[in-house]
């Protein structure tokens, strides 16, 4: 059991709630055991909250789809940063958004993306099998991986392949014959392009020459018989049930060491590595993966006990994990919105987010979000610097006008405090350089490393009082603000 100490709790909060909010640190440090702390974050039965609210679009015109996409993105950022009483719900939804991927450009509808994201927000800690099954026939996914164009006479492997390769089982644990079988099982689903409604193609009125859209031929899939009678609409779901159930990695699979193993174990290991890499660091310890796999399978793929197992492992609090993750651009934005007490629509420059490597609702491809080194390079840092300048400018709008203050999470610093108190010509700043750095970081609820603090004080000493407000920007660029 991890030790209940502030460093561990802060680490846990940064990885699960985006930010180690002081109020949460205080609250959680007051609980009895570390398990209580993890349970509080996860919202286990004792703390369970209602399903999170959904964004209500203000732009309702037919041509406003792009604006609705912006609304959804800003709504979600606000939830992560400021609005959610249980940010772990949003964190899990972001994880699933980066794993069970759709991209709003190809989906072509903010409403359909909202539906998918809301599923991840609502059920992101519930049962994985149920969530994946529901996700598979939501129109967002039907469109994103072309399963709305997958018909008996004209199969399309895109969804069936990625369902196995990227969502559930991982490449090398099945054969091309399994891809072809799964593709057949998933035939017959489609959508109405105009309304975005789901359509089962064989329900459409038929002419004599209309083909049957669903391929009902019996298939062998990972050692099990599927597509064998019953409701044809559920044939695709059977592939998920087999992978997370009684399937077996075939003898022709590329991963020799997995041949003959139950696919549910292989899937649980794959998903456990993915979760660890996203929450902890790039090096999942084998013992942890084994334990997570066992917990996931034992809970019949309930997500909460699986995540709980990870968060209660001592390894999650090892030094290499504490310092092992770069704050993704989305995480970083959430932390800025919190520190500067801003609403996303007033501050987040979506047009620059793509240059950071991570634009919400636009995963780069079906493999989803990346981590660490992907976001650390000269080009991505140029985007972060410009974003930080934008946030500092937004925060500073009230500084040079008659208002005369900078607003932070926990209060204001006034122009008088930073530059001059009293009437001209008696410009006497109230605060020393040290006080400015300390007060500003306190008000932002940001913890600066001692050398960072000293260098920022040096900056103020060299720059003079007229440039003291630049400190907002420089704090946002301090390397520790970019580590998760």
């Amino acid at each position: 059991m991890p030790v209940k100490k502030e460093r561990n709790v802060r680490h846990l909060l940064r990885r699960t709630e985006f930010i180690d909010r002081q109020s949460r640190v205080d609250e959680l440090m007051g609980l009895t055991t570390f398990a209580d702390i993890v349970d509080n974050i996860l919202g286990t039965a004792a703390h369970r909250l209602p399903a999170p609210p959904s964004v209500v679009f203000q732009n309702t015109g037919e041509d406003d789809n792009w604006r609705r996409g912006q609304e959804l993105a800003h709504f979600w950022f606000d939830r992560m940063a400021n609005d959610s009483p249980r940010p772990m719900q949003e964190k899990m939804a972001l994880f699933w958004h980066g794993h069970l991927v759709s991209e709003i450009g190809k989906v072509g509808s903010a409403e359909l993306m909202r539906e998918q994201i809301d599923l991840y927000r609502r059920d992101g800690l519930d049962n994985f099998r149920d969530m994946v099954t529901e996700m598979s026939t939501q129109v967002a996914m039907l469109r994103y991986l072309d399963n709305n164009r997958n018909e008996a006479d004209s199969p399309n492997q895109n969804f069936a392949r990625e369902l196995m390769e990227l969502f559930l089982l991982e490449v090398g644990n099945y054969t091309e014959a399994d891809v072809e079988a799964a593709t057949a099982a998933w035939t017959g689903h489609s959508d109405n392009w105009q309304t975005g409604e789901y359509v089962w193609l064989d329900d459409l009125p038929k002419e004599r020459w209309t083909p049957i859209f669903h391929d009902s031929s019996v298939k062998q899939f990972l050692g099990q018989t599927i597509n064998n009678g019953g409701d044809p609409r559920r044939h695709g779901d059977e592939t998920i049930e087999v992978i997370l159930g009684n399937g077996v990695v075939p003898s022709g699979a590329d991963k020799v060491h997995n041949r003959g193993r139950p696919t549910r174990l292989v899937a649980a290991e794959f998903l456990s590595r993915k979760l660890w890499v996203d929450f902890a660091n790039q090096a999942p310890p084998a013992a942890v993966i084994d334990a997570m796999r066992d917990a996931f399978v034992a809970a019949d793929f309930d997500i909460l006990p699986w995540v709980r197992t990870m968060l209660l492992r001592d390894e999650f609090y090892a030094e290499e994990v504490l310092t092992g993750l770069v704050r993704s651009p989305i995480d970083w934005i959430a932390s800025l919105l919190y520190a500067l007490d801003l609403r996303s629509k007033d501050a987040t420059p979506m047009w620059l987010m793509g240059n950071t490597g991570q634009l919400i609702l636009h995963p780069p491809n079906v493999s989803g979000w990346k981590i660490n080194g992907y976001y650390v390079n000269a080009s991505a840092m140029e985007a972060r610097a410009r974003i930080a300048q934008g946030f500092a400018w937004t925060a500073g709008r009230t500084y040079w006008d008659d208002s005369g203050y900078l607003q932070f999470r926990h209060g204001r610093l006034t122009r008088d405090e930073l530059i001059a108190a009293g009437p001209w010509p008696d410009y006497i700043p109230t605060m020393s350089d040290e006080e400015v750095v300390d007060n500003m970081s306190d008000l932002m609820e940001v913890t600066l490393a001692a050398p960072t603090r000293e260098r920022l004080i040096d900056h103020l000493a060299a720059a003079g009082r007229w440039e003291r407000s630049d400190l907002v920007f420089l704090i946002l660029l301090a390397p520790e603000l970019h580590v998760a």
């Binding site: 450009g105 992907y374 410009r386 390397p479």
Partner: protein
């Protein structure tokens, strides 16, 4: 830390920078005197002064945070531009087999009628959008290498792309093929201006064992390029902050901010505020301008997509071809003609597509595809062998005839000064793609591909690209 096998997760990591790659960052090395003098001569020196301890002079003599070990480009140096087509390009609709009845039968409604292609011989037509490549062909400067692939092809985007980028088909890649070339070129020293990806992350092929390329934004960098004292003070503080921690990622992040300042101060003067709105076109303009600035770049890379046309290919693939054509055109409009004999382009993609089209007007993941090598020093013609389509059923896939390592090796040895056996860890079969060595036709002389206008933007290209919602 990598997985024990090429799992999807590790393959994904390989497509950007694996953590291990950060551990080897070499320290500053002295700037080559030839290059130093050139930089000063170009008047870039003044803009580089970034406060105490990091002026150009300090950097030049090894006191700075980064350095430029390789110096400016040498008289016989070639520059390679690598274009990655992500998602699996439909090679059949790129280099169209216009005399092959199987193509028209299998590709169905997707097939391009012979009369619409840009014919290069009786059996071959280029995609109708590729007019600039047709000009290169007519000038005998376009090599089309047909049937490129590798044994036991992988149909996963990510595994296959990892193999292509790594330049190896088995084992766990820890570096990419051009990265390993860079290792040899820089001998382990650091140089931000020897190789670059124009984009926002660093793909595996640009990552070596001891050195890596620089990621450069596809826009004019604003942060780091101002000369006013207030900004210079900020830049210096950002540099100072970079050294404030010993934690691994803190240091990497700090160093990336410093690299960013170095890059911005050098390249901002060369990049205009306004760039073309189509992303790939903008990125190739940036590449041309980086070459014009003679900062020493030998390899420049850019990747784009989406080529994964499972459905609705007629609304997708022609746009990619349009973008490719417009980007090349723009590149040569911007490139100083004196540099034309130094530049060779090459394309790659993780695989091709199936020859059988589906009723959704799409194709599935394939195996092999043709690729282009072009530039003023390239020996135009058809290379390799065209895969047969005979007998291919719904899930049938074409056989490859040219190993992608031979493709790479021919470029390394023919254009980048050699080293294919070290880079690819095997001996290659040289395809003989080049008619002359870099600069050989007319050293720094004005050569320009025929038909390409000198006037920027004069072709009036306005692709009907359905840009995704700009955020």
């Amino acid at each position: 830390m990598l997985d024990n096998d090429i799992s999807t997760a590790s393959a994904l990591n390989h497509l950007s920078v694996p953590e291990a790659a950060f551990a080897t960052g070499a320290d500053a090395h002295a700037l080559d005197r030839r290059r130093f003098l050139q930089l000063v001569g170009m008047g870039l020196g003044a803009g580089l002064v970034a406060g105490p301890g990091s002026s150009l002079l300090d950097t030049a003599f090894g006191n700075g945070d980064t350095s430029r070990a390789a110096g400016p480009i040498g008289a016989g140096d070639g520059i390679l531009i690598v274009l990655g087509m992500f998602g699996g390009n439909d090679g059949l609709n790129t280099v169209v087999p216009i005399s092959d009845g199987e193509y028209y039968a299998q590709h169905g409604s997707l097939a391009i009628p012979a009369g619409q292609t840009l014919p290069i011989n009786r059996s071959t037509g280029l995609h109708p959008e590729l007019t600039v490549l047709k000009e290169f062909w007519d000038n005998d400067q376009l090599a089309i290498v047909e049937g490129i692939g590798y044994p036991d092809p992988d149909l996963s985007h990510f595994n296959s792309m990892a193999k292509w980028m790594a330049g190896q088909t088995s084992g766990i890649p820890t570096s990419g093929w051009l990265g390993r070339w860079l290792d040899g070129y820089l001998s382990g020293s650091k140089d931000l201006f020897a190789a670059a990806e124009v984009g926002h992350s660093l793909p595996l092929h640009m990552l070596g064992e001891s050195s890596r390329a620089t990621a450069i934004p596809a826009s004019r960098p604003s942060f780091g390029a101002r000369s006013e004292e207030r900004y210079q003070r900020q830049y210096q503080t950002v540099r100072n902050l970079s050294a404030s921690s010993t934690d691994f990622w803190n240091r990497q992040i700090g160093q990336a901010f410093v690299d960013q300042l170095e890059v911005a101060s050098e390249i901002a003067p060369a990049i205009p505020e306004e760039l073309p709105s189509v992303d790939l076109v903008a990125r190739l303009e940036v590449q041309a301008r980086l070459i014009n600035a003679n900062l020493g770049f030998r390899v420049l890379s850019a990747g784009w997509g989406d080529f994964d046309s499972h459905a609705g290919q007629p609304d997708q693939h022609p746009l990619r071809m349009q973008e490719l054509n417009a980007a090349i055109r723009r590149f040569y409009e911007v490139l100083d003609p004196a540099w034309a004999t130094r530049v060779t382009f090459m394309t790659f993609s993780e695989f091709g597509r199936t020859s059988q089209a589906n009723d959704g007007a799409g194709t599935d993941h394939g195996t092999t595809a043709p690729h282009f090598v072009f530039g003023s020093n390239v020996q135009g013609g058809l290379y390799g062998e065209r895969p047969t389509l005979a007998g291919l059923g719904r899930w049938g896939r074409m056989a490859h005839h040219v190993d992608f390592r031979d493709y790479y090796g021919s470029v390394i040895d023919g254009w980048l000064g050699g080293g294919s056996s070290e880079v690819l860890n095997r001996s290659i079969e040289d395809l003989g793609l080049f008619a002359s060595a870099p600069g050989g036709t007319a050293p720094n002389g004005p050569t320009r591909p025929p038909g390409v206008s000198l006037v920027a933007g004069s072709n009036g290209y306005r692709p009907a690209v359905r840009l995704r919602a700009e955020s």
